[in-house]
């Protein structure tokens, strides 16, 4: 590693000197560098091998039908790279509007595996050299690439909210009236269902069928293709796993998603800035409070607003309670999938109810809190709420944790199922862009709270919990350790909760955000949750992309399941800890 390179600006200058004809700084409101399309792989290799940018966090595409903010009309492919403690380094690659093709980074960074597929699915940008460029959230055969700016939905009403038809002369018109079928349906002209049969491989069986037909001379048994989900009690929602088995051993496993694809990003580009906050709650519905944080963080970066200390502390308190809640429920689900059935889950849900009582008292809703605002929080924590939080953080939750450890940690049945199962080597974890407990269990001490401290996390003493073996058992240990650290942070934060205002400036419903781009990320309970937003200076986001930890973490699922028994799949999945709302968005 080159020791002299420190800040992002230095890196940009360094790269410019190193690749004079391929790299230039991005135009004014944008950060990072603009890389020539044909030199992308070369620059990325240099970044990874020489400059230690080993972690490709997010890959996304922004559609510019017209020039905007100094960006010409193009498809702008945006990459966010991080080092151990530095970053982000933003790479912009401009793809042609007529035939958008960009070289794929999957051979260098497997973390782009799903993200490039998503970009192809929703934006229609081809990634040359991608091993498996199929649609991921929608299905093969879907008509069009919906995130393009010129693609309109069936219920399309206006480009931006608020819609003019609501006031001052707003009579309710059902959205169904916008479609001739009275439903959210549209078919290409001249298309008729009468002679139509689903020709393309909609459900993705073809690669598995092909693999199953191949014969293995060492193994006499036939290979079987098995479909798990989307309605399966152990897939934590509507995930579908397509597995090819040889006997009971897994030859190939592929997560299929999109069964909860709710068009979050398309709707988010239509909402006003403020209106997106309640939508973020619906992403990872287990931990709604911490979903709002990276979004407000990204917008606050653009606005240049710093929340007052009390608001920052309240945010930390809420984020840590959410982490505790998520890990408790996650371990409960692990027990459920192991066959302990509901016991561990019931105990976890009881603690969840207490934490949700606190959330409801503070924000007004159990699940969908809608509590954060740009520059602060919506309501102050009352004395009653603080008392409840103290009761939980100092007495109730530590007691629960002790009990959990006494019946889970040394439980022979759990250990028999978990130790040595689903081992994820650290190099693979980094390459696949895994974050959160999944990464730390493999022994990589990477935590956004330390690597890029946000809010008041610098004020607290806490340790980053790291595992050694990277198996299911270590992931469990890391989660338990993180719950302990969460309680430590909570106790410090509640003891030192400062007085003062909870909002910087006034609340405003119609907010205009200065033009530019911003990437806000936090250490969500499941990993790094990032929001990439582009503003054109208006009251709505121009681009609103979510880098969901569950989605990227799932990319490694196929690798770590290889060679395991089919019964281990559910527990490996539980140990990765996904929420489908976040995977599919």
């Amino acid at each position: 590693m080159n020791e002299s390179i420190g800040s992002t600006t230095d890196i940009v200058t360094h790269l410019q000197e190193r690749f004079p004809d391929a790299v230039q700084p991005a135009p004014a409101p944008y950060q990072g560098i603009l890389v020539a399309q044909d030199r992308l792989v070369e620059v990325a290799t240099y970044l990874r091998d020489e400059l230690d940018f080993a972690y490709l966090s997010s890959v996304t595409v922004v559609d510019y039908p017209q020039p905007l903010n100094g960006m010409p009309a193009c498809y702008d492919v945006v990459y966010h790279f991080f080092q151990g403690r530095g970053g982000p380094l933003t790479l912009h690659v401009q793809a042609d509007r007529e035939n958008p093709v960009v070289p794929s980074l999957v051979p260098l960074f497997p973390s782009a595996l799903f993200q490039e597929r998503e970009a192809w699915d929703l934006m229609g940008v081809r990634f040359d050299g991608h091993p498996d460029l199929r649609r991921i959230l929608l299905w093969e055969g879907f008509d069009g690439h919906p995130l393009r700016k010129d693609w309109k939905e069936v219920y399309y009403e206006e480009e931006h909210k608020p819609f003019g038809s609501r006031f001052p002369d707003g009579r309710p018109v059902p959205a169904e009236s916008r479609s001739p079928f009275g439903d959210n349906l549209r078919y290409p002209p001249g298309w008729s269902p009468r002679d139509w049969r689903p020709l393309v491989d909609v459900w993705g069986y073809a690669p598995h069928d092909e693999l199953a037909r191949q014969e293995d001379p060492n193994h006499p048994a036939d290979r079987v293709v098995l479909n798990m989900g989307p309605h399966h009690p152990s897939t934590h929602g509507v995930l579908r796993l397509l597995v090819t088995l040889e006997g009971e051993r897994i030859v190939k496993l592929e997560p299929m998603m999109g069964f909860l694809h709710r068009c979050h990003e398309k709707i988010g580009e239509r909402n006003v800035w403020l209106g997106n906050i309640p939508y973020t709650d619906r992403l990872d519905y287990v931990c709604a409070m911490s979903n709002e944080l990276p979004y407000v963080l990204a917008v606050e970066k653009l606005l240049g607003v710093e929340p007052p200390p009390r608001a920052q502390y309240i945010r930390v308190i809420m984020a840590e309670f959410t982490r505790f809640l998520n890990h408790a429920v996650s371990i409960g689900f692990t027990g459920n999938d192991l066959g302990i059935y509901f016991t561990a889950m019931l105990y976890a849900l009881e603690e969840r109810e207490h934490i949700l009582d606190l959330f409801e008292m503070v924000s007004g809703s159990r699940l969908m809190c809608n509590y954060m605002r740009f520059g602060g929080v919506a309501h102050d924590m009352s004395e009653e709420a603080i008392a409840l939080a103290r009761a939980l953080a100092f007495e109730r939750l530590p007691r629960y944790l002790d009990q959990l450890e006494s019946y889970f940690t040394d439980n022979e049945l759990f250990k028999a199922r978990a130790v040595g199962v689903g081992v994820l080597p650290p190099e693979m974890a980094v390459a696949y862009g895994c974050t959160g407990p999944l990464l730390r269990a493999s022994g990589v001490p990477y935590d956004v709270r330390r690597a890029e401290p946000y809010f008041a996390y610098d004020d607290f003493n806490f340790d980053i919990v790291v595992g050694q073996n990277g198996d299911v058992y270590d992931r469990y240990l890391v989660r338990v350790g993180e719950m302990r650290q969460s309680l430590r942070i909570l106790q410090q934060a509640l003891n030192r909760l400062p007085d003062g205002p909870i909002m910087a400036g006034r609340k405003s419903a119609t907010l205009k955000v200065p033009a530019g781009e911003s990437y806000g990320r936090i250490e969500a309970p499941k990993g790094e949750l990032g929001f990439y937003i582009v503003s054109d200076g208006g009251p709505n986001p121009y681009r609103y992309h979510i880098r969901a930890p569950s989605f990227v973490n799932l990319g490694v699922m196929g690798e770590i399941c290889w060679g395991h028994l089919i019964a281990d799949v559910v527990i490996i999945l539980a140990s990765i800890d996904i929420t489908l709302g976040e995977v599919d968005r």
């Binding site: 879907f142 959205a175 001739p180 959210n184 509507v238 069964f259 979050h264 619906r282 019931l346 849900l349």
Partner: protein
């Protein structure tokens, strides 16, 4: 009107002492409503609130429904809990078709009722009632567990009003048609709309020629 209060048919005088009319409807419905088994089926955010409802605090075993069946063949109640997407709809319809009669559908949350906040999305079904017959709608985003339990109690009340004499699934020859399972084509292909789509296309094509 609850069945207990319902007037029993009068016994003719010559048969008094030989025939007893028991409120069989009441017993039958009581047994049915006290063992209403929901299908273990989670779609989106509301599913998590449903799990919360089915845990210790709101304990549905008080109503005899703590057991959630993963197989549709053993379930009586389908709680549609969350956004139904076009990609998921074929599976939802198939599960509904596989459930034995009598079956009930409770729609929980704004998304499942009408698409809710995600209504305008390109992959969202704007209301499951376009495909399945719905008994009770419970709005909210998500509804509180009390709201869900209230919806379930409403289904209980609905069961109480049913009588063996006029139930559809005990009549001869009345086998309900399964709902045609939609397919994934250029958009969701709803087979019931075939003729309408063709009529629409004929309208569209000449206008394009002009």
């Amino acid at each position: 009107m609850s069945p207990r209060k319902r007037q029993l048919p009068e016994i003719p005088p010559e048969l008094v002492g030989t025939v007893h009319i028991t409120p069989i409807d009441a017993i039958y419905n009581w047994a049915r409503k006290r063992s209403l088994w929901p299908i273990f089926f989670g779609l989106a955010c509301c599913a998590f609130e449903m799990i919360g409802t089915f845990a210790a605090r709101f304990d549905p075993s008080r109503f005899g429904m703590e057991i959630m069946r993963a197989s549709p063949r053993q379930a009586d109640l389908m709680i549609i809990n969350g956004t139904v997407t076009k990609k998921m709809l074929p599976q939802v319809v198939r599960l509904y078709n596989q459930m034995p009669e009598p079956k009930y559908v409770l729609v929980m949350g704004a998304c499942a009722i009408s698409g809710g906040p995600f209504q305008e999305g390109y992959n969202v079904v704007s209301g499951i009632d376009k495909y399945l017959p719905v008994d009770v709608y419970v709005p909210g985003c998500p509804p509180r567990p009390e709201g869900l339990i209230h919806g379930i109690l409403t289904i209980h009340a609905k069961m109480e009003r049913e009588s063996l004499r006029n139930l559809r699934w005990y009549k001869k020859g009345e086998v309900p048609e399964p709902i045609p399972v939609p397919e994934l084509g250029p958009d969701l292909v709803d087979w019931r709309l075939t003729e309408k789509i063709e009529a629409m296309q004929e309208e569209v094509v000449p206008s394009q020629v002009e």
